[in-house]
Amino acid sequence: MLRILIVEDESFTRQLISNTLSQQGFEVRNFEDASTAIEAIESFEPHVVISDLDLGAFGASGIDLLQYVSRKFPWIGLVALTAHANPKLAAAGSLPEQVAYLVKSEISDLGQIGVAIRATLSNRTDQSTESTESTESTESTDEDQLVVSGLQAEALRMLASGMTNQAIADARGTSLRAVETLISRTYASLGLEREAGRNYRIEAVRLWQTGRVRVE
């Protein structure tokens, strides 16, 4: 089950998104401010962090939180919630490219949040605000789409960020052998069978970065 961490200072919105994602089968934890959310990241190990960019006049904003997460936990997917019409402008270039943006007042379907989560995990942030229907139709017609689990997606994100197996093991707090097993299974899910002379690491990352991978 994918773990989602929500940071939103407005309680009603926070609760609403939290309930919606829970109903969609995500494991959710929500927080009011950036500092408290950071404390929970190491123990909760979220796959995706969804944060409002504006978390009140005082303290760290959503931009600071997402920047922090992208720096310390580069494998975690990031979704920015905002009331700005031009969200990338609101972030003033402070956020990494892979952040998916959701404009609050433009969400006509709560399914869009789930789509944005899957998009950020698949590094397809440009499609994050498309409607559920259109994404589903894209997925159903795309027979080449490869499916991986949330854990495998996390491994792929770490590989894409240039981490070695040892670094992934250190980051996840597991053994090197466990990481090697996870990566082997990920290669298998992607249909990469072992053959001499092929670099699966590069091929797996290329598949991930070209949006050929879907997370379930």
Binding site: I38, D64, Q67, S108
Partner: protein, 592 residues
């Protein structure tokens, strides 16, 4: 001492640069003055022929003036450097025709004569007297004119201050009224209508349509209004006139400060009286003039010390009159003493008789001119200081009003963009969820929450222009700020008790400093990627001083990238950003 004199001469030379070295206004004073001196020195040559005496005393100074005006372009073209030297040289040249005319008219012999003035002697002494007065008058007119202009500018600055206050207050009030009208006539009724529609909505289709309308309302009206608020310009500019202070008002101010030095008066007297005496009674008078002026200077210096002490707190006019009385009194007593010794120099009796009226008159005249010159210079200095202070006051007032306007806009922007728009977006989301919700209990809960959100948005809009609640204690605010940055950046604060107390006593200052702290921390974390920040808050020279220092990785971008510094600059008196190799320091000060 020598370098000080040279520096003083250089300063004078710069004062009389270009056109200032040939200011024609000096002739208002010089024409009567030169006529008077011609009368004093040469009236005896015409005996009882009054018409010729008057013609002589007026025509020669006029010729002198005409020659000067003809040569003036040559001097003014010299520019700022060396104007005074050139002026003195050309002024001598310009005087020559009238001097030659004088010798010719009076029939003065060109060969040296032991018992009466000869041509070269007359010319040299006349040039010395004329140059002394010209130089003095040029300084007086220049300083006086500069003082008038400065005082006029000062008055304009003070007027501008009042205008800025009125304009900004009026603009602020108009802007807020317009926003109030837009909120009251457009936003609030729409939110009310949306709430009414929500109460009547029963089907999923209705709820989804309502959600769509709310989204559209957020996108168009609320966003447009918040954009209007955030992009508003609070600046007010006034047209400042460069008028001059009135002639009489400036004169009054000059005499208020005019208290010329005794040394200056003695030197001037020597420069004018010695040539005059030589002209009238030959070189034999020179020792008598020098000794007389020297002794007179010593006595006046002694008396003047007591006089200044006596009139120190009296009105300026008292000081001025007592100065004149002192000079007149001392000169008369001196002449009395000289007369008692007349048997020692019987050939000078005629000359001494002339001095009974002439000496006090000349002294008073020098005293007045010197008073003008010194007073004008003092006034110039004083008005420059006042002008700088007034300019600073205008800046401070302007900044304070802009800051107030910016704070009001920021509050409204946050209310509309953050709170109201956020609530409306949440209602839209809730209605979308509600349309797909199948559990009655959950549906009822969502509906009730959506209604509560709309009611809260209505209340917020209605209270947008209410008085703001007071600031929560500084300690609480600082704790909250620090807590909300924990885990991202380590912040250490060192503060003096006086500085913290000052924040506690002044709510506006506390708000500004806390906002600056928030901006400084954001800057350090977001742009310099600092993991720690040291903050020092203290009071220095009647200023609250905030210093924020963070380590900088040289690979990272400079921490001036953000717009936060502009925000701090709007409220603080000064903002300075220094970037060293390993650290960056942001220093902001607030005047009490």
């Amino acid at each position: 001492m020598k370098s000080r004199t040279l520096a003083g001469l250089r300063q004078l030379d710069q004062t009389l640069a270009g056109k200032k070295a040939v200011n024609p206004k000096i002739w208002f004073f010089l024409l009567p003055l030169y006529s008077w001196f011609n009368w004093l020195c040469f009236a005896d040559y015409f005996g009882d022929d009054l018409a010729q005496t008057i013609a002589f005393c007026t025509l020669l100074p006029l010729l002198h003036m005409a020659c000067w005006l003809a040569l003036a372009p040559l001097i003014s073209r010299r520019g700022p450097k060396g104007s005074t030297t050139v002026m003195l040289g050309l002024a001598t040249l310009a005087q020559m025709p009238s001097e030659f005319a004088k010798c010719y008219w009076l029939g003065i012999d060109w060969n040296p004569q032991p018992d009466r003035p000869f041509a070269l002697q007359v010319i040299v002494t006349s040039v010395v007297i004329a140059l002394t007065w010209k130089f003095m008058m040029l300084l007086t007119v220049e300083w006086f004119e500069s003082s008038r202009a400065r005082l006029g500018r000062l008055r304009a600055v003070r007027n501008e201050l009042a205008q800025i206050r009125t304009q900004l207050n009026s603009r602020l009030s108009t802007d807020l009224q317009l926003l109030r009208a837009q909120i009251a006539e457009s936003l609030t009724p729409t939110v009310e209508r949306l709430r009414a529609r929500l109460e009547g909505a029963t089907s999923s289709q209705n709820l989804l349509a309502l959600a769509g309308d709310i989204r559209s309302f957020c996108d168009r009206e609320v966003r447009s209004l918040s954009h209007q608020i955030s992009s508003g310009d609070d600046g007010a500019r006034t047209q400042m006139s460069d008028g001059r202070q009135g002639l009489l008002a400036t004169s009054a101010a000059v005499f208020r400060l005019g208290n010329s030095s005794v040394e200056f008066v003695a030197a001037m007297l020597l420069l004018v009286a010695a040539p005059y005496a030589i002209n009238v009674a030959g070189y034999q008078t020179l020792p008598l003039v020098v000794i007389g002026i020297g002794l007179g200077y010593l006595v006046v210096r002694f008396v003047d010390r007591g006089r200044r002490r006596l009139v120190a707190n009296a009105p300026a006019v008292v000081g001025f009159i007592t100065g004149i009385l002192m000079l007149a009194g001392v000169s008369e007593l001196g002449l009395l003493a000289v007369r008692m010794l007349e048997p020692l120099y019987p050939q000078l009796v005629g000359f001494i008789e002339q001095l009974w009226l002439l000496l006090p008159l000349m002294l008073v005249f020098i005293w007045v001119v010197a008073g003008w010159t010194f007073g004008a210079r003092e006034l110039l200095r004083e008005s420059e200081v006042e002008l700088a202070e007034s300019n600073q006051a205008v800046e401070l007032e302007n900044r304070r009003l802009r800051q107030q306007a910016a704070a009001a806009r920021a509050r409204l922007y946050r209310l509309l963009h953050g709170s109201v728009q956020g609530r409306l977006a949440a209602v839209s989301l809730a209605l979308t969820a509600l349309a797909n919700e199948e559990t009655p209990a959950r549906s009822a809960e969502l509906l009730e929450q959506a209604q509560q959100q709309l009611a809260a948005a209505e209340r917020e809009l209605a209270g947008a222009f209410d008085a703001q609640p007071g600031v929560v204690g500084v300690d609480e605010q600082w704790s909250e700020l620090q807590s909300r940055w924990r885990n991202l950046i380590a912040i250490s604060l060192t503060t003096s008790p006086e500085a913290w107390q000052a924040l506690g006593a002044n709510a506006d200052l506390a708000r500004e400093v806390l906002a600056a702290l928030q901006e400084g921390i954001t800057n350090a974390y977001r742009h310099a990627r600092a993991d720690r920040l040291e903050i020092e808050l203290g009071i220095e020279d009647d200023e609250l001083r905030l210093v924020m220092t963070n380590p900088v990785d040289d690979q990272q971008a400079a921490s001036t990238e953000g717009t936060g510094l502009d925000g701090i600059a709007l409220s603080a008196s000064t903002v300075k950003f220094d970037r060293g190799q390993d650290f960056a320091t942001l220093t902001a000060t607030w005047k009490f």
